[in-house]
Every structure is written in C-alpha cells, then in structure tokens.
C-alpha cells in the first residue's frame, strides 16, 4: 500500500520536488516543524536523513548538519519517530535516507518492520549499491517498501541493464540520478548535462527518475528536471536552515528555499 503514495505523486503532471532534511539538525525537536515547512513550501516527498558519524558521500553542509544532529543523540529511532508523527498528520511520501552501518547495527529486519509501522514508503541507503548482498533489500521487498537505487554519471549502460533486471525483482518506485561525480552540495553542477543523462537513464530503465546533488536554485531545479520526474534538494535546504538564527527563522528559511525551487519547477 505504502508504495502507492510515491507512485501517485510521480504520476501527477507537476514536477516532483523531494526535500532532504537531516533529522535532528539542529535539534530533534525542530525536525517535524521543518518537515512541515518544506511541505508548505511545495515539497512532494520528504527524505529524512539518519545522521552518521562518517558520511563519506556528503559534502561540508551535510557533514556539519550530521555532527550537530549526533551531538543531540539523534539515531534511527529518532528518524522513525519523526516519520510516524508526520504520517499521522500527512499523506506525504517519506523516504528514509542513510548510511548502511546504523541500519545494519539496528537490525535490518527490525528496521524495515519499524519503518513500515511508521508509514515509511522508501529506503535510500547511500553506501549500499543495488547489487551488494543485504538482508535490508529482501526485508523491504517483503514489506512492500521501495528501495531507491542511485545512478551516477560514472554508471555504465551495462550496469544500468543489470539495474533494470534487478528492479524487476525489487520494488523500485523511482531512481535517483546523481548529477555529478562528487559529494552532496557540489558547488557548480551542469544541470543541463545532468538532465540529459538522466533522460537516457529513464529511457534505459523505464523507471521514474529524479535528479539530485547540487540542485540549489530555481534555475537549476528547472533545468535538471527537464524531461524527468523531478529533483531533490538537500544541501541547499540544510544550508538555509543553518544560516537562520533561531527556530522560527529556520522554519521560514526552509519554507522559502523549498518554495523558490517549487516556483522554478512550475514556471
């Protein structure tokens, strides 16, 4: 059932905007309000990031956010708790984003069960390539939770073929095309080139595709989403939150940033 929510969103005529938040940044008590601000700003799907001590795929903004979140003891259960609260108030699709070790140590089956109970729709595990053996994937399939595979500029067509075969035996509502060979928050992405490759990926896989990494403005969002389902905003949102002086300002900054990308996509 849960997967319906994502498919329904992706089937809408408007471009999909996915907003990433680092759970617990700057404090776990603010995450729910920030999530609602992102929704108010026009986010269609929320990615709730579980902070990790060693986020080697992330750039400086999310590294700092993770350190702030971990300083307040944010963990997998914090993220699932936020998901559950959000689900009780909203039908917005929720993706849990994280690194593998916290999920592995939490217990993969236990994590999937609790995520399912919390109303989570999908899992994106950034350091778990689609062909690496893991119980997480099997548990997710059984629970009807979608796995979100990443595709990078370095991913070959041969590997895309392998991913396509893999996706036939796994619930995959959408794939995440990484706009640039680099870490999250890359300063200068070529959004036009990224969307061109993303369209090829979409054509090969025939699975809805979104573009993320370095999407930090209305113009880039619009260019990156050209011909694909939508975009993900992460580091830019985290940076906007970081730059605001207090909780109230953070909520306004989050809504404003998401809203500006929304307008870029809808223009």
């Amino acid at each position: 059932m849960s997967a319906r929510r994502i498919v329904n969103i992706l089937n809408k005529p408007r471009k999909t905007l996915i907003a990433y938040l680092c759970v617990g940044d700057p404090h776990p008590s603010e995450t729910l309000a920030l999530a609602k601000a992102a929704i108010a700003g026009g986010a269609d799907i929320l990615e709730l990031g579980v902070p990790f001590s060693d986020p080697s795929a992330d750039g400086k903004a999310i590294v700092r956010a993770s350190e702030r979140a971990l300083a307040h003891g944010t963990n997998v259960d914090t993220a699932l708790g936020i998901a559950k609260q959000l689900r009780s108030e909203s039908a917005v699709p929720i993706v849990i984003f994280g690194y593998y070790n916290p999920l592995l140590v939490y217990g993969e089956e236990r994590f999937v069960k609790n995520a399912n109970d919390a109303g989570v729709d999908a899992i994106l595990c950034v350091d778990l390539p689609f062909d690496e053996p893991a119980n997480l994937r099997e548990s997710a399939r059984e629970a009807g939770i979608s796995m979100v595979p990443l595709v990078a500029p370095t991913t070959t067509d041969a590997r895309l073929d392998a991913l396509k075969r893999h996706a036939e035996s796994q619930l995959v509502d959408f794939v995440y095309y990484v706009s640039v060979a680099g870490v999250t928050g890359a300063a200068s992405i070529d959004a036009v080139a990224a969307s061109a490759r993303a369209r090829q990926v979409l054509k090969i896989l025939d699975i809805p595709t979104v573009v993320g990494f370095g999407v930090d403005s209305a113009e880039k969002a619009r260019a990156a989403a050209n011909g694909v389902s939508g975009v993900v905003v992460g580091s830019a949102l985290v940076t906007a939150i970081e730059g605001a002086p207090d909780a109230k300002a953070r909520i306004l900054a989050a809504e404003k940033l998401v809203s500006s990308l929304r307008h870029g996509l809808d223009a």
């Binding site: 080697s56 590294v63 070790n101 140590v105 390539p129 990078a152 680099g182």
Partner: protein, 410 residues
Amino acid sequence: MQPHASRVLEVDSPGYFGRFGGRFVAETLIAPLDELVLAMVNIVDTHAFQAEWRSLLLHYVGRPTPLTETARLAKAIDPSGKSLSRLFLKREDLCHTGAHKINNALGQVLLATKMGKTRIVAETGAGQHGVATATACAMLGLPCIVYMGEEDVGRQAPNVGRMKLLGAEVRSVTAGSRTLKDAMNEAIRDWVSNVATTHYCIGSAAGPHPYPELVARFQSVIGDEAKLQSETQLGNLPDALIACVGGGSNAIGLFRTFLSYESIAIFGVEASGQGIETNHHAATLTKGRIGVLHGSKSYVLCDEQGQITEAHSISAGLDYPGVGPEHAALKESKRVTYLSTTDDEALAAVSQAARSEGIILALETAHAFARIGDVARSCASERGRAVNVLVSCSGRGDKDLTTLLSRLLP
C-alpha cells in the same frame, strides 16, 4: 597443502572473504572500483609490471629485507629457553622510509601510472603510509595529496615535515574525531569528486573490493621472503608468526604465504590502549561488532546506534576503529588468533628490544613484540617443546621519538 578456504574470494560474491568485504560505497565509485579490478588482472598480474615493481623493491626500497635472529632478545623474553627456542625478526623497519608501507605505495602508484591516472590521494594516520605514498609519487613523478586528521598532524609532526619535503600537499582534516578514519572519509570525498584523473592509494588492507586484495598482494612480498629466508636460516618453517594489526596490512602480508601450512600458529595483535575493559582501545576484532566502514563489511568499533566510535592507542598507526575484512574472516575461521597489547606493554617492549638488540621499534610494531613470551609459552605447552617464532618488525621508531622520550626517559 590446500590454501585455507577463507583466503579465497568466493566466486559468486566477488570481493568477499567469507562473509566479510564487499563494496559498500556510493554508486559513483563502482565504476573506478571495477576499473581497478580489471587493472589487477590486466596490469598487476603481468610479467612486465611485476618485473618493474620488483626492480624498484630491489634497487630503491632495499629488499629483500633481512631476517634477523635475535638471541639476546629471546633470552630476555624467556631466560630459561624452555618455551622460546629461536626468535627471528622480519626487518621491514629497514625498508626505505622506515616501514612496510612502501611496498604497497610503490605498487599502487606504479599501477596508477599504467592506468593513466595523473593524481594520487591518500589518507594517513601515523604518517607512515603518507610518507611512503609521497615518496612513491616523488620518484614516479605524480602529484600527491595526503589527508591527515588534525589530531594526527599535531602528534606526528616529523612525518608531516617529511611529506612536505617530498613535495606532497598535506591537508589537515577537521571533521569528526580528526584522526585516521576522518582522513579516510575526506580522501574518499576527494576521490569521488575526481574519479577520472585520480587514484586513491589506500594504505591498509581495508576499504572496498579490490583494495584489501590489492594491498595484500603487494604486501605478500613480506611473507614470501620470510618463508625462503626461514627455510635457509632456520632450515624449516617457524612454529609461530606474530604481527601487529591496525587495518592489518603488514600482518596479512606476512600471514598469507603461511596460511596453508596448518601446523604454523598465527597471531595478530591489536592495540588495547589503556585496557581492553576501558573505552580507550583500538581492539576492533576483540571488542568490536560486525559493521560497515569505509566500503567493506568487517568488524568495527561503534556504539549501539551504529555510530563509529573513536579508537585509542598510543600508536597512531593502530588507532583505527576498523580492520581489514580478511582478518575478520581469519578470526571467524579461527585460522588466526587475535590478541591485544596495552600502551604500557608496548612501551616496555620498545625499551626491551632497544636495550637487548639495538633495534628501536615503531610503537605499532612493539604491540606484536609484547606478546612473544605469551605466544611462545602457549605454543610450547601445546607442542611439548620450545618453539621457533617469527615476528614482523613492521617499522622503526624514529617517528615516535617524542612519545618514547617523554614516556620512557621522563
């Protein structure tokens, strides 16, 4: 004799040692890892590459390193001679740059030139791998960037100076615990952002497949030489091997050659820091849990939430909360026994080796030496005779002088 099962990569799961290893990395790195796997077959395994690398080891590194028999140290450790018969040291401390790290650094940097890479990044803790990589880059003509935790930059100042003299750029890492694991994160971030031009030269038998295999192959020169030297000088193979284990590269380099000889008892020694019962240790195999760090599944030091915890050891080279996946498999199969040594025991071992043999050990290396007596006693009691022990003397102590002077000659 058949090689031990756990050292063989499982065919249906590439890159695994038993259930450990794999490639737990961001998707962008899969293609360069595939490229490296191919390069191992198409370049490293060729006669031409082996000849060029071995020529560098011979004429530049100073290999083969000696196998030194140390009668006075043996006597100091076991005065009765009832458990320890003969003691041999494989002298990696005599390699150019002062440790075994150069074997792998030269191999990888040479490989990078053959792969058309024009830039090298590396991580370093104690600075030995950083110095080795900077050296290899200087002599092969490639720019070198070394990431080092801010904490380590402070406590390993002489090696920072050496890397700079060698023309490398040392980038201080201020994220996380500001030590080796954070330097490795930053090196991975650099690599993922520059995959087309850059080779990431990992210094330990850790990281995603094929690094643990690649590093082990370059370091196996240690064991291969030690076996031949042992046959000549001892007339036989030793009864027991001992090496220190941080990530585990000198240990796997010594062990691999001997794994298939089941009569040889093999011991890895981790750092138990201020004590295995405290939270201040780096005994990943002894006290850690199964997890994923820096691209492979192995044992890691982490809390109940899966957050990686800080390791502690007086030796910066062992101060790492992970360990190579092959060691995890060797622990699980019980082919290798993993012991641990505290900071104080390591210091005492440095003092003992210096005074009885005139060899100043690196603090890492001293962790292995501190367990010679225990290993000899347990092997001798099993076999009913005094045993011959071979220890990896993985590095020299020049870099540790500040610590050694303040702790041993206060």
